[in-house]
Amino acid sequence: MAAPSVKAVRGWSGLALGVRGVVLRLPGLTQVRWSRYGPEFQDPQTDKEYYRKPTAQLTEEEKYERELRKTRFIKAAPATKTSSVFEDPVVSKFTNMMMKGGNKVLARHLMTQTLETVKRKQFEKYHAASAKEQATIERNPYTIFHQALKNCEPVIGLVSILKSGRFYQVPVPLADRRRRFLAMKWMITECREKKHRRMLMPEKLSHELLQAFHNQGPVVKRKRDMHKMAEANRALAHYRWW
C-alpha cells in the first residue's frame, strides 16, 4: 500500500448553492474521495426516535440543532439508508463489499442466508448441548457477526515506505475505519479464494464467522501474522513521519 494520499483542500462554495467551485490545486496531489456536496450540507437524520421526542424533553443543544437543521440544506439520503429498526450499518457495509457488478439483490440475499445459516448452526449446537453449556452458546447471528469482525480487526498495520531506493514495510497505527475495512476485506477474500469452488458463499461465510467468533480460523491467523510482522519490523518505525 502506498503512503496515504493527502486529501486536497476543499473548494470554496461561496457563490453556487452547495455545488463545488474551483478546487485549490496543489502540484503533485490529486483529490480522491470527494463529494459534490459542500460543507454546509447536513447529513440526513433517519432515526424515528429523534423526531418522536416531545419538545419539552429536549436540551438546549438539541433545540439549537433542530433550529439549525431547519435553515440548512440536507443531503439526499441514499437508497440503502432506511428508518427500519433492524438496520445495521456494519451489515450494510459488509453487503456492499460483497456486491459484484452492482448486484445488490444477490449480495443482500447472500448476507441474509449467511445470518440464517449461522443461526441454524448455533441452534443445532444448542439443542445438542447439555444444560450448563447451553448458557454459553450464543444464538444471535448479529452478535456473532459483530464479535467475529472485531476479532479479525488488526491493531497495527504495515505500510510500504520508499527510502533511499528501497521499499520498507513500516508498522503504522491504523484508523478505525481502516481496521474495520481490513477485517471485512480479509473475511470476504478468504471465503472467495481459499474455499472449494462448489461450496456456496453463505455456507463458507457462516463457517468462517463462527471460527472467527471463537478466535480461531484463517482470518484471525492472518491478523496475528500481520501483528507478528509489525513486531518484527519494529526497528523501522522511525521511517514513519506522521
Binding site: 429498526v85 433492524f86 441474509t112 440464517e116 443461526k119 441454524r120 443445532e124 439443542h127 444471535n140 447471528p141
Partner: protein
C-alpha cells in the same frame, strides 16, 4: 396489489354450476365402519407440554383452536410425511426439533367437510387456492395428517410439478407405445407410498393378473405390496406399477375396506405444459406421460369411498405468470373443465390473531434473536414488511 372480492368470479354468466355442498352434513359414516371415534386419541399424542401458551389440545380441533399451534410427534412425521412437507418447513422442524402446524380456518373447514363425508356418494373434490406463500401446502399436510390418524389410505403426490420438469430419464412405456415412463420419480414415490401405508398393502388384494415380462407376473389375489415391491426393485416397470396401484385403489375404494384420500399438491401441473423434450427435441404434452395420464383418471370423481383434496401452486408451475392464483388462470380451460364440480377453499394471509400467534410461537422458541424484534416497533415493522403473508414472515424471521 390485486383486489380480491369475497366470492371469486370463476366463470362467465352463461355456465351454471352448483358449487354448494354436494353431500349431507348428517352423521358421518366413519363410525359404522371404523368403530373408533372420529376424533384424535388424545392420550398418547400429548407431549410433555410445558409451553402451553399457544398450543392446541389435539383432541378438539374446533373454532376456538383457530390460531393455535399443534404438535405432530416425530414418529408420525416419519410415517405420514416421508415426502410432502415444504422444504423450508422441514428445515424449521430440524432446527426446532418439533413439527408445529398452525390450525387455520381453511384447514378447519376442510376437516369439517371430511368428517361429514358420505362415502356412498362420489368423491368430492376440494381445491385449496390462494396467493403465493399463504399456506396451501401446509393446510394440505394438516388434512393428510388428520386423515392418516383416522386410518384412511393416503395417496399423497407431494409436488406434481416435479413430474413435468427436470426429469432425467424418460423411457418409452412398455404398456403403451405412445406414452413415456419416468422410472426414477416413480420408484421414489412408490418407496414413500410404502412407508406411509404399510398396513394396507397386505390387506388389499389385486383383482387381476399382471404380467411384467416373460419371467415375472403378479397373480390375481396377491397383496398390493407385491406390486409395490415389483415397482421398487424393477425400476423399469415402476411407472406401470404406479398405474396399477392407482387403478386397484380406485376400484376397491367403494368396497369399504378403507377410505381413500387423494392429495395432490400443484394439480395445475397435470393440465399445463411440460419442459420435457424427446430426443428429437419435440415437446411432450402432459398426457403423453404415463403417470400424469393415470393421475388424471384418479382425480376424476367417478369413484366413491373417499375424498380428493387438491392444491393449486404457481410456485413450481411452468409458463404461468407470478401473479396468477385463481383456479381459472392456473388450470386453464382444459383443467378447469376436467375438475369442474369442485369446492374451492381460499387460503389467505394471516389475520391479526394468527399473526400474533405466529410471532408468539417464534418468540417461545427463541427464534427471533434480534433485540429490536421483541419490541412493539419491531413487530409492527415485521407486519408491514411481510403483509401478514406466512411465507414472507417465515423468511424474514429466519435472519432476524
Amino acid at each position: 396489489m390485486r383486489e380480491r372480492s369475497g366470492t371469486p368470479n370463476f366463470r362467465e354468466v352463461g355456465r351454471e354450476r352448483n358449487y354448494g355442498r354436494q353431500f349431507e352434513s348428517t352423521s358421518c359414516s366413519l363410525e359404522t365402519l371404523r368403530g373408533s371415534s372420529a376424533l384424535y386419541s388424545a392420550g398418547t399424542m400429548l407431549k410433555g407440554m410445558t409451553r402451553l401458551i399457544s398450543r392446541a389440545h389435539k383432541a378438539k380441533h374446533g373454532e376456538q383452536q383457530e390460531g393455535q399451534h399443534y404438535n405432530i410427534p416425530h414418529q408420525d412425521l416419519k410415517t405420514v410425511f416421508p415426502h410432502g412437507l415444504p422444504p423450508r418447513f422441514v428445515m424449521q422442524v430440524k432446527t426446532f426439533n418439533e413439527a408445529c402446524l398452525m390450525v387455520r380456518k381453511p384447514a378447519l373447514e376442510l376437516l369439517h367437510y371430511l368428517k361429514n363425508t358420505n362415502f356412498a356418494h362420489p368423491a368430492v373434490r376440494y381445491i385449496l387456492y390462494g396467493e403465493k406463500g399463504t399456506g396451501k401446502t401446509l393446510s394440505l399436510c394438516h388434512v393428510v395428517h388428520f386423515c392418516a390418524k383416522q386410518d384412511w389410505l393416503i395417496l399423497h403426490v407431494p409436488d406434481a410439478h416435479r413430474w413435468v420438469k427436470n426429469c432425467r430419464d424418460l423411457l418409452q412405456s412398455t404398456y403403451n407405445k405412445q406414452r413415456l415412463d419416468q422410472p426414477l420419480e416413480a420408484s421414489t414415490w412408490l418407496k414413500n407410498f410404502r412407508t406411509s401405508n404399510e398396513r394396507f398393502l397386505s390387506q388389499i388384494k389385486v383383482q387381476e393378473k399382471y404380467v411384467w415380462n416373460k419371467r415375472e407376473s403378479t397373480e390375481k389375489g396377491s397383496p398390493l405390496g407385491d406390486v409395490v415391491e415389483q415397482g421398487i426393485t424393477r425400476v423399469r416397470n415402476a411407472t406401470d406399477a404406479v398405474g396399477i396401484v392407482l387403478k386397484e385403489l380406485r376400484r376397491q375404494s367403494s368396497c369399504g375396506i378403507f377410505h381413500l384420500l387423494v392429495a395432490v399438491d400443484g394439480v395445475n401441473a397435470l393440465w399445463g405444459r411440460t419442459t420435457l423434450k424427446r430426443e428429437d427435441k419435440s415437446p411432450i404434452a402432459p398426457e403423453e406421460l404415463a403417470f400424469i395420464y393415470n393421475l388424471r383418471k384418479m382425480v376424476k370423481n367417478d369413484w366413491n369411498g373417499g375424498a380428493i383434496v387438491l392444491t393449486l401452486s404457481q410456485t413450481g408451475s411452468l409458463f404461468k405468470p407470478r401473479t396468477a392464483y385463481m383456479p381459472q388462470e392456473l388450470l386453464g380451460e382444459e383443467g378447469f373443465n376436467a375438475l369442474d364440480p369442485f369446492i374451492p377453499i381460499l387460503v389467505s394471509n394471516y389475520n391479526p390473531k394468527e399473526f400474533q400467534s405466529c410471532i408468539q410461537y417464534y418468540l417461545e422458541n427463541n427464534w427471533l434473536q434480534h433485540e429490536k424484534a421483541h419490541t412493539e416497533g419491531g413487530m409492527k415493522e415485521l407486519l408491514f414488511l411481510s403483509n401478514a403473508n406466512p411465507g414472507q414472515l417465515e423468511r424474514l424471521c429466519a435472519y432476524l
